[in-house]
């Protein structure tokens, strides 16, 4: 049972002043200030979620931050150990470790490849998908399928495809790089970026498809009347029209990229040749769990979170915000 909201959307979409706020201040009779807002039931509705976040999330995060300022390691219950406060020592250790810098650098390489590629491919494919009528189901399924499958499942195929004697190298013949893809310090991270882009594209196509519905058809027509072809329509109507979606895509793919763990872990055990595909989260895992240095790991984690927040703020400034 599908409901076509296009009609109502057009209406609310056309009134920026009312975007996103139901029960806005212009409602007659709601002018009096109430301490908990007009519908305090909202607090009740959100309570389970907030409790969940508080328990499952807030406590570990606060604990992690606390750990990053102390000399800490996990002990059996009942074991007595010193846990001295060490100020910024862990941060110094983390930030003077070349491995950490390389890991952040790797994430940078990853983002530079993955984010623009994701945006371009998903907007192009979404536009194309929006326009076709025949075999639409087939195409849609083709693009979403990688997204719904587990990395664990798919990684093994890629390992095989990109290995020294794998199909890709067989096809490329003499052009195949040596050492081959995933063991090549220069190519390891780009290969992972390619894999993650391929895998995540379905989700972003979905976001763009939805945003495309809001671009009014008349705009295309007016460009066409002026003699503009498909390409011109794409650049002057589509791209600006889906700007909020672009922001969301950029933001989400950045967050996912910065927190990359599964792919480096599975595709290049232990971080690839010479640390060429180590990611900060992989380091957190290694240091915190394998090497039992959760204090340094926590420091890396805090730095990572700050790093992501800064990038997110920059993106918001330059790419534009989502209007809601």
């Amino acid at each position: 049972m599908t409901v076509d909201l296009a009609g109502t959307t057009g209406r609310t979409g056309g009134d920026p002043g009312r975007s996103g706020r139901a029960g806005g201040e212009t409602d007659a009779g709601k002018k009096r200030r109430r301490p908990f807002g007009a519908q305090p039931l909202g607090i009740l509705f959100s309570a389970p979620y907030l409790i969940f976040v508080g328990v499952v999330f807030a406590y570990p995060v606060i604990f992690a931050v606390w750990m990053s300022f102390h000399d800490y390691f996990f002990t059996a219950p009942g074991a007595q150990v010193d846990r001295p406060f060490v100020g910024f020592d862990n941060y110094v250790t983390a930030l003077t470790d070349p491995d950490v810098w390389r890991a952040f650098g790797n994430v940078g390489i990853f983002l530079i490849i993955n984010v623009p590629l994701t945006v371009v491919l998903s907007i192009v494919l979404a536009t194309a998908l929006d326009r076709v009528v025949r075999a639409r189901t087939f195409f849609r399924v083709a693009f979403y399928v990688p997204y719904v499958t587990a990395s664990v499942a798919v990684v093994a195929v890629w390992l095989f495809l990109f290995s020294n004697t794998g199909l890709i190298n067989n096809v490329l013949g003499p052009l195949a790089p040596t050492p081959s893809w995933l063991v090549n310090s220069a190519l390891a991270m780009p290969t992972i970026a390619l894999f993650v882009t391929w895998k995540g594209l379905g989700f972003y196509i979905l976001l763009y498809l939805a945003a495309l519905q809001n671009v009014q058809k008349e705009l295309y027509e007016s460009v066409a009347v002026d003699g503009g072809g498909r390409l011109r329509q794409f650049f002057s109507v589509t791209v600006p029209g889906v700007r909020p979606a672009t922001f969301l895509v950029v933001l989400l793919s950045t967050i996912t990229g910065a927190n990359l763990f599964t792919e480096p872990y599975l595709l290049t055990n232990g971080g690839g040749p010479n640390g060429a595909s180590t990611s900060p989260v992989l380091l957190i895992y290694q240091k915190g769990i394998e090497q039992q240095n959760p204090d340094v790991a926590a420091a890396i984690g805090v730095v990572l979170i700050v790093f992501v927040l800064v990038i997110a703020l920059l993106q918001r400034r330059f790419v534009g915000r989502e209007e809601s």
């Binding site: 049972m1 599908t2 409901v3 909201l5 959307t9 209406r11 609310t12 979409g13 975007s19 139901a22 029960g23 908990f36 807002g37 519908q39 039931l41 509705f45 959100s46 389970p48 907030l50 999330f57 406590y59 570990p60 995060v61 604990f63 992690a64 750990m67 194309a128 326009r131 189901t137 195409f139 693009f143 399928v145 719904v148 499958t149 990395s151 664990v152 499942a153 798919v154 093994a156 195929v157 095989f160 199909l167 594209l201 979905l206 939805a210 519905q213 809001n214 671009v215 072809g229 498909r230 909020p244 967050i255 763990f261 599975l266 989260v281 915190g288 769990i289 979170i305 992501v308 809601s324």
Partner: protein, 275 residues
């Protein structure tokens, strides 16, 4: 006309590139000996077999793994549907103090990497709550999916205000509003969120691995990840066995998606992102 060919051309090329690894995965799972040559991509009938499936089933119990994955994922979907919808509705439709702070929290939760929280979480859930080796312990950190909350909020935002005002004037309470007015309108969108929420726990292999020592409780993603990293090397056709396991893990997700994908029609996702 030309542009139509270009469009279909681009899509077809894209679709082939996207599907090829899956085709290769299925081919790999059915081959007796892995054949990385170009010819191997189109397998010879004599090289086909189902023994890879039996091999991996002998080492990790596929059915039990699937069942565990199902319970884990089901629990998360339940929590997200019940409490996530409530939160999304509150964030979109109701006006209350702390609303924007809560939304900021929903976004912030997604920024923090799970691996950072893993051990404190483990200590809390296993030691303090005593929930190790239990499904509840597995489900707890994932119970309400924050991305889904964002999606629910978006859907509810698209519903016209007038609908709610009219119902309120008629004396409907908020809960009634949610249940009888808002939910039916976004039901197809709920399905979208369910499908997206499904993917997380179905594919999660680190947390369940930590929290359950008992091999019979482990979801399939965990068993497969461990198989690939440790046991595969000692089987006869490691690649084939891995592919067989991968096919089994991917199949339900893909099947579910195929069945429900028509609800993904762009109209419903609602102008999930306003333009």
């Amino acid at each position: 006309m030309r542009s139509r060919i270009v469009t279909y051309g681009v899509l077809t090329l894209g679709a082939l590139a996207f599907l090829f690894p899956f085709y290769y995965m299925v081919v790999g799972s059915l081959q007796t000996n892995p054949d990385p040559s170009i010819a191997g991509a189109f397998p010879h009938p004599s090289n086909l077999t189902t023994e890879n499936f039996t091999a991996i089933d002998g080492r990790i119990n596929l059915l039990q793994g699937l069942a565990n994955s199902g319970i884990f994922t089901g629990g998360v979907i339940l929590g997200t549907l019940v409490f996530g919808v409530l939160a999304g509705y509150a964030l979109a439709v109701l006006k209350w103090r702390g609303r924007s702070a809560t939304f900021a929290l929903v976004l912030l939760v997604q920024v923090v990497p799970f691996q950072l929280l893993m051990i404190p979480l483990y200590v809390m859930i296993a030691r303090d709550y005593g929930l190790s080796d239990s499904y509840l312990g597995m489900i707890l950190p994932f119970f309400i999916n924050s991305t889904a909350v964002v999606i629910f909020r978006q859907y509810f935002l698209q519903l016209p205000k007038e609908l709610f005002d009219a119902a309120r004037i008629d004396g409907a309470g908020e809960f009634r509003l949610l249940w009888s007015v808002a939910l039916p309108l976004v039901r197809p969108a709920l399905l979208t969120a369910v499908l997206l929420t499904f993917i997380g726990p179905w594919n999660e292999f680190l947390w369940p691995f930590l929290i359950t020592k008992d091999a019979s409780m482990q979801p399939l993603a965990v068993s497969l990840a461990n198989f690939i990293s440790t046991i595969a090397a000692s089987t006869t056709n490691p690649f084939g066995a891995m592919m067989a396991g991968a096919v089994v893990l991917a199949a339900p997700a893909v099947a579910l998606f195929l069945i429900f994908q028509r609800y993904f029609t762009s109209n419903d996702l609602g102008s999930g992102v306003k333009g």
